[in-house]
C-alpha cells in the first residue's frame, strides 16, 4: 500500500513545514493514507467481478453449515463467563442476552455476563471470576486478545477454553483463542469495496473511514482496500482513521472536509453505522446529500432507514444478521464444552441494502425479516441434539 499526502499549497516555507510534518506522521504510520492502483485485472473485468459479487448478496443469505450435530445432554450446569467490551453498545447487549437465553433454554448452561465497560482492568477481572466460579469457557467479545495474554495463559492452565467472539476473521486463533465465532468482517469489507467499484463504474474516488481501536476494524478495512486494489485499477481510495472517542465530534468535519477538498471524492465509507451517523448529520445540515454516496456496515434499525431518504447521503448499508450471529456463538460454546472440534467459519448471513432496494426490503421493525431467511434457527435446532 502506498502512503501519500495531498499536494501541498504554494508557499515554499509552508510546504517544507508540511512536508516535514507529513514525513513525521508517515514515520509514525498514522496519516490519511492512499491506496494506489495496483490491479492486475482490466477495468472491465474488475467491474464485472465486483458487480457479480455484490449482486450475490442482494439475495437472501443461505445456510452454509455447520452440519455436524452436537449433544447438549451433558452440558447442564456448565458455566460460561462472557466478557463483553461494553454492554452499552446496543449490538453487544443484544448478542449477550440472546446467547445467554439460548444456552440456558437449550442446554441449561449458566452464562455470566461481565460488562467490561470499555475498561481493560474490568475485562481482566472477568478472567478471575471465571477461575473463581469454575467456568469451563471464557468468551471475549470485541476485545483484542493481545491485551489478555497472561490471563489467557492462566485460563488455559486451569483447563478453561477461550473463544474469541466477533474479532474479525473467522477461524483466526491468533492471540491464544481455542475457537472463534464472528461475522466475516473481511467479506463485509470486500462487499463495501464491490459496491464502491460497481456503483462508480470502476472509476470511483473514495475515502474509507476506519477506527483502529475496534478489534474487527483492521479485518474489514483490509478487506476493502485489498478488493479495491485487486479489482479497480482506476479507483482511488484514501483511508482515514477516526477512533471511537472522536466519532461524534470529529466525523462531521471530516465528512464535509472530504466534500470540500475534493468534490469528486464522493464515496465515503465509514466502517460502522455508529461512525456514519454523525457524518450523515453534517451532510444533512449542509444540504450535501446529493453530493456524496455513503456506505457502511451494520444496517442497524435507526440508521438503515435513512437509505430511503435521498437527502441523508446514505446509499449503501450491509447488514449482518445478529440473531444468526448469536446462534453461532451459542453453537460454538456448546461445541467447545462438548470437546468437539470448533467450527472455523459459520458463514453468518450478510445482505446488502441500498437506496434501490431499501423500500422493498426494510419493512417493519423485525430485523430478522429484512434478511429474507430465518431458516438457520431450525438448522441450529436440528444440530443441537439431546
Amino acid at each position: 500500500m502506498k502512503l501519500s499526502i495531498d499536494q501541498p499549497g504554494r508557499a515554499s516555507v509552508a510546504r517544507r513545514l508540511m512536508t516535514a510534518g507529513a514525513a513525521a506522521a508517515m514515520v509514525l504510520g498514522i496519516a490519511l493514507t492512499s491506496v494506489g492502483p495496483a490491479s492486475a485485472v482490466t477495468p472491465a473485468k474488475g467491474l464485472a467481478t465486483a458487480t457479480a459479487r455484490l449482486n450475490a448478496y442482494t439475495a437472501p443469505p443461505k445456510w452454509r453449515g455447520p452440519y455436524t450435530p452436537l449433544h447438549t445432554a451433558g452440558l447442564s450446569g456448565d458455566k460460561v463467563v462472557y466478557i463483553s467490551a461494553n454492554e452499552s453498545i446496543p449490538v453487544l447487549h443484544y448478542w449477550s442476552t440472546t446467547v445467554q437465553g439460548l444456552l440456558s433454554t437449550t442446554a441449561g448452561i449458566g452464562m455470566q455476563i461481565v460488562d467490561a465497560n470499555s475498561n481493560i482492568a474490568t475485562a481482566q477481572a472477568g478472567f478471575q471470576q471465571a477461575l473463581a466460579t469454575g467456568a469451563k469457557v471464557i468468551c471475549i467479545i470485541a476485545l483484542p486478545l493481545s491485551l489478555f495474554a497472561s490471563q489467557i495463559a492462566a485460563a488455559h492452565a486451569a483447563g478453561i477454553k477461550v473463544i474469541a467472539v466477533n474479532a474479525g476473521v473467522p477461524g483466526d486463533l491468533t492471540g491464544g483463542a481455542d475457537a472463534s465465532a464472528t461475522f466475516d468482517y473481511v467479506k463485509v469489507g470486500q462487499l463495501i469495496a464491490d459496491w464502491f467499484i460497481s456503483n462508480s463504474k470502476g472509476l470511483g474516488k473514495g475515502t474509507l473511514v476506519t477506527s483502529s481501536d475496534v478489534p474487527a476494524s483492521p479485518a474489514q478495512a483490509g478487506g476493502t482496500t485489498r478488493e479495491v486494489k485487486a479489482l479497480c485499477p482506476k479507483c482511488s481510495l484514501k483511508v482515514a482513521d477516526v477512533q471511537i472517542a472522536q466519532w461524534a465530534t470529529g466525523i462531521p468535519t471530516l465528512f464535509q472536509s472530504i466534500i470540500n477538498t475534493d468534490p469528486k471524492r464522493k464515496y465515503i465509507m465509514p466502517l460502522y453505522d455508529g461512525q456514519a451517523l454523525p457524518g450523515l448529520t453534517s451532510i444533512r445540515t449542509l444540504g450535501a446529500g446529493n453530493k456524496v454516496d455513503v456506505g457502511a456496515f451494520n444496517a442497524s434499525d435507526g440508521i438503515v432507514q435513512l437509505l430511503k431518504d435521498p437527502k441523508s447521503g446514505l446509499k449503501f448499508d450491509i447488514g449482518g444478521d445478529n440473531t444468526w450471529d448469536s446462534y453461532a456463538i451459542a453453537d460454538q460454546i456448546m461445541r467447545v464444552l462438548d470437546g468437539m472440534t470448533p467450527v472455523k467459519n459459520y458463514n453468518i448471513g450478510l445482505r446488502v441494502f441500498m437506496s434501490s432496494n431499501a423500500k422493498k426490503l426494510i419493512v417493519g421493525t423485525d430485523q430478522n425479516m429484512w434478511y429474507g431467511y430465518t431458516g438457520y434457527q431450525d438448522k441450529f435446532a436440528a444440530l443441537w441434539q439431546k
Binding site: I5, D6, P8, G9, R10, A11, A14, M18, A22, A25, I30, A31, L32, E87, S88, I89, P90, H93, V209, K238, A240, D241, V242, Q243, A245, Q246, W247, A248, T249, G250, P252, T253, L254, Q256, S257, I258, I259, N260, T261, D262, D273, G274, L277, P278, L280, T281, S282, R284, T285, L286, G287, S300, D301, G302, I303, Q305, L306, D309, S312
Partner: protein, 338 residues
C-alpha cells in the same frame, strides 16, 4: 463600584473593572491577552489557507466551520453559566445525550407533537439541573463530584430509556426546519449565536452578571454583601443543564435520530472551548464572546487538519493541547488579577 444585594441599586460599570484588562487597558500586552484567541484563530486560518490555497479559503469551508458544530457551541455556552459562578458541571455531556434521546423517544416512538416533546425534554433537563443544584449547593457537596455522579447516572438512564439502541423517527418536518439555511447556515448556528448574544448581555451588561462574578470571586464576601449566593449558584447549574438539553434537541433534530451514547463526546470540546474562551476578551473570566471565538478556533483547527489529511488522533491532540494551554493561561490571568 459597589455590589448591591438583590434589592439594592447597583451601578452598571463596565465588566472590565473586574478584570485585569480593566487595570492595564490600552497596552499591547493587554490587547494581546484580550484578543489572543482571535489572533490565533486568524493565524491558523491563514496557515491552513496557505497550505491548502485551492480549497481552504472558500465559502464552503466557512459553512463547514460554522455550520457543523453548533451543538458544541450551544453546550459550551451553557457551560459558561455554571463555570461563571465557580461550579463544574461534568454531567453536561450526558445531558446532551439525554436531551437528544428524549426528543427522539417522545416525538419518534410516542409520536408526541414536536413542540410538546421539546418542552418536556427541556423540563426534564431543568429538573436534572435542579437536582444537581440541590445536592451541590444546598447539601454542600462539591459540584464536580455530584455532577460526575449524576452524569454517569444520566448516561445509564439514557441507555435504559432508549433501550440501548439508536432511536429514530424524529419528524422530518422538524429536521427540515432545523436545516433551513439562512445566509448559508442552518438554524442551529443562529440559535447558538443568539444564545451567545444573550449570554454576553447577561454576563457583561446585567446586574446578575456582576453578581455571578462576585459569587465566583468570593462566596462568603458575596453573602455578606447581601447576595443570594446559593440561588445564583443553583441558577448557573440549572441553566447549564437546560441548555445542554437544548443542544441535545438540536443534535437529534439534525440527525433525525438519537444515539444514546453520543453525549459524552461533547464534554471535552465544550470544556476546552469554555476554558480557552476565558483567556480571551475578558481574560480570567468565563465569557460568551471568548467562548464563541474559542469554539470556532478549535473547529477551524480540526477542519484544517482534516484538509491536510490528518483526521483522527491529531484532533484529540489539538483539543487536549488547547485545553491544557487554556487552563494554564487562565491560571496566569487569574494570578494577574489577584
Amino acid at each position: 463600584m459597589t455590589f448591591g444585594g438583590p434589592n439594592t441599586q447597583e451601578s452598571l460599570a463596565p465588566l472590565d473593572e473586574f478584570s485585569s484588562a480593566g487595570r492595564s487597558r490600552g497596552s499591547i500586552r493587554d490587547y494581546l491577552q484580550r484578543y489572543g484567541v482571535i489572533i490565533a484563530w486568524i493565524a491558523i486560518a491563514v496557515f491552513f489557507s496557505a497550505m491548502r490555497s485551492q480549497t481552504f479559503p472558500r465559502l464552503s469551508t466557512l459553512q463547514l466551520i460554522f455550520g457543523t458544530q453548533s451543538v458544541i457551541l450551544i453546550t459550551a455556552m451553557g457551560l459558561v453559566f455554571s463555570l461563571a459562578v465557580g461550579e463544574y458541571d461534568l454531567s453536561t455531556g450526558s445531558l446532551v445525550g439525554l436531551g437528544s434521546t428524549l426528543l427522539a423517544v417522545f416525538s419518534g416512538r410516542h409520536h408526541w407533537p414536536v413542540v410538546l416533546a421539546i418542552l418536556v425534554t427541556l423540563g426534564i433537563c431543568f429538573l436534572v439541573g435542579t437536582v444537581n443544584a440541590l445536592l451541590s449547593v444546598y447539601l454542600g457537596v462539591q459540584s464536580i463530584i455530584i455532577t460526575l455522579g449524576t452524569g454517569t447516572l444520566i448516561a445509564g438512564l439514557t441507555l435504559a430509556v432508549s433501550g440501548s439502541v439508536v432511536v429514530t423517527g424524529v419528524p422530518m418536518g422538524f429536521t427540515n426546519f432545523l436545516t433551513t439555511q439562512f445566509i448559508g447556515l442552518a438554524l442551529p448556528f443562529w440559535i447558538g449565536l443568539i444564545l451567545t448574544a444573550v449570554t454576553w448581555f447577561i454576563l457583561q451588561h446585567m446586574p446578575l452578571g456582576r453578581r455571578m462574578i462576585f459569587v465566583q470571586e468570593n462566596r462568603e464576601v458575596a453573602r455578606l454583601a447581601g447576595l443570594r449566593v446559593n440561588r445564583i449558584r443553583a441558577g448557573g447549574l440549572i441553566a447549564t443543564s437546560t441548555i445542554a438539553g437544548l443542544a441535545g434537541i438540536m443534535l437529534a433534530g439534525l440527525s433525525q435520530a438519537a444515539d444514546p451514547q453520543s453525549g459524552a463526546s461533547f464534554l471535552l470540546p465544550a470544556f476546552a472551548a469554555a476554558f480557552l474562551g476565558s483567556t480571551a476578551i475578558v481574560p480570567g473570566r468565563f465569557n460568551a464572546v471568548g467562548t464563541f471565538a474559542a469554539v470556532y478556533f478549535l473547529v477551524t483547527g480540526i477542519t484544517g487538519l482534516d484538509y491536510l489529511g490528518y483526521a483522527g488522533w491529531p484532533g484529540q491532540v489539538f483539543y487536549g493541547g488547547s485545553l491544557v494551554v487554556a487552563v494554564s493561561l487562565s491560571h496566569l490571568a487569574g494570578r494577574r488579577l489577584a
